[in-house]
Symmetry: C3
Subunit: 288 residues, 3 copies
Amino acid sequence: MSKPRILVQLDPDAQASVFDAVVAVDAGVDHLLQYGRVSPDQVQGLVHGAIFTRGPQDLKNTAIFVGGSDVAAAEELVKRVLASFFGPLRVSVMMDASGANTTAAAAVLAASRHVPLQGATAVVLAATGPVGQRVVRLLAREGARVRVGSRTLPRAECVCEQVRQRVGSAVLEPVATAPESMAGVLTDASLVISAGAAGVTLLPAETWQACPTLRVAIDLNAVPPLGIAGVEATDKAVLRGEVTCYGAIGVGGAKMKIHGRAISRLFESNSQVFDAEEVYAIGRELQG
Amino acid sequence: MSKPRILVQLDPDAQASVFDAVVAVDAGVDHLLQYGRVSPDQVQGLVHGAIFTRGPQDLKNTAIFVGGSDVAAAEELVKRVLASFFGPLRVSVMMDASGANTTAAAAVLAASRHVPLQGATAVVLAATGPVGQRVVRLLAREGARVRVGSRTLPRAECVCEQVRQRVGSAVLEPVATAPESMAGVLTDASLVISAGAAGVTLLPAETWQACPTLRVAIDLNAVPPLGIAGVEATDKAVLRGEVTCYGAIGVGGAKMKIHGRAISRLFESNSQVFDAEEVYAIGRELQG
Amino acid sequence: MSKPRILVQLDPDAQASVFDAVVAVDAGVDHLLQYGRVSPDQVQGLVHGAIFTRGPQDLKNTAIFVGGSDVAAAEELVKRVLASFFGPLRVSVMMDASGANTTAAAAVLAASRHVPLQGATAVVLAATGPVGQRVVRLLAREGARVRVGSRTLPRAECVCEQVRQRVGSAVLEPVATAPESMAGVLTDASLVISAGAAGVTLLPAETWQACPTLRVAIDLNAVPPLGIAGVEATDKAVLRGEVTCYGAIGVGGAKMKIHGRAISRLFESNSQVFDAEEVYAIGRELQG
């Protein structure tokens, strides 16, 4: 008889996320161990408790989820988790703070249903945040040429540099974005994805609607006004002119499915690490 | 197949209540998410995690319990919970900090088995506390004329005012109580309920035993000396002279049953809010 | 139908132990209530929640585990737990902070498979720590003559005094230990157990290998260099010359089995208290 599935939820926030907990339960976790306000120095002890309790053949029934709202803090926890393993004494780990990996994966998958990503010219707005950076990574791996947008060029260049370190083959171009210069930024683009914060319009409606090559526009901010004016948060493959549009709520269903499937996949072996790429691959399988 | 029942336990105390947790488990909750030291500003994020994870048809399988020992702090959390819902995106909520709602409901239900509440004259001692106020509310809704007792008249008046805001039809009379004046306060009363703190005698034994109209005396403090001298904490419908007496332990069994039933009722739909009145209605059904 | 098994995990550490949690789940606990950063003054409220919720016949399905890394802090919590019970209103309790009880029990049981403890001369090195003290206690109860070793004689004497208060029949001899004097300390001994901290060699290999009466050497430190040079952490009944050797990992399997069995035993009645002796007795049964 196999051991119960235990998920150790590590969260840097003061209270461990209810969102992450409910998704875990619905993904079939038997026992959820919630840890909030987790600091990096506490990780080793918690991880050792996870790897030194069950036999090697049962370790796949224990897994670690690192979530919460602070992606940078969560990434530090993941680094500590990985450093706490002892060779084969390890358990599978997923990072999805702020939904960054599942959101980026769902957005790129949505786009891929409407334009071939290989060779496409894609524009990512507000690419400096955790979701934006992951969208750039995933698009670059799929062979798109990505214009990496930020309101200041140095920040865009910094993201390009970071993505190139992970994706050697990436074809990236940093661009400084401002609403009035967006027509140029969109030249020849078939795809634009905006991952900006709430309430800042990055791309005027008339600009993208006048771009003859554009086929897909995705905005990942749920609170109006969106970064891409003219897209609605609830858009889910809504055709506006020639452009298929998605909003945050429109990609939310796929995002949730990917999240749940990824959690249940954690328990298939004890050596998986799910960051953006792995989560994206799971999403592709789900998409069939 | 229906989703597992998840109860989110929000507690302002430093450690989430074990009491509330055990009752939840015994009421059939599948997964309990315990949150202690919850501050009002943390509520929105936690509630959004509860309402944005499951589809509308499954939201009834998630619920929120607000408990702990501090009723005022819990009421503030409930207010924040309700303010965090988005129209139909909501889950059912129960408040029972300090057992205030279940205790008040059990006490008034016990009384109702021995005297018709409609038109009865009832005296509530130490009515200013959270249990006392709720007893006044429930009695007033049942049509009793309630003497609202406090050691200082202004505080009694304040409670009357608060109850009138909730129960427009309430017939209330504020009374300043002192042991030596209790004979007058009890005049024509058929029912007295004391909700005072530990160790203060509010009503001497000879006074209530000499009241010819009195039929029921209930004391909700478990630690002697009780507020109503001559009643024992373990009294459960014990007849002393002509008066049927209940102590805190005597109403405790019914209180626990009401608490458990209310928890399982939370999962019948996603839009319920259980405060004193709803908990009392559940208790009435249980009483048959 | 019996109630779900609830284990209340009380832990003085900032985060409740994952280790203790996984063992509890694998021992069949249905609902684990984890409490970290538990201070002594919080214990009464938590314990009252455990004992005032279920009826007397169901109390055996609730139990308390006190764990974490700090044995002294955990012992203080256990004292508060026991003081919070009301006669028959109690639940079973196990203490195993830092694995002290299960480790000591597993070590003494391992020794007992190779030498009769009754009448044996045993040496315990680093006997002043929580594991060492428990090893002394268990050996003394089994009728061994125990040399209680510490690097300073007064500390060794102090441990002897504490053990004598618990085990009236104990035959103990405090000894100041230094690597160069260990030949004398081992005279006539058939058994040596070291419970020292990481990285300090207490007993040179040539000394114990030259002791003609020695039959068993057990070192409970998992991180090299071990206290007993020449023993490996993974040794599990490894014969080195005439001496059967065990390291920390070698006794770890039995320790885990004892821990798990003890947790499931907690739920057999509501009045058990598991400290070293009770845990050892459970281990003896497991050993058959």
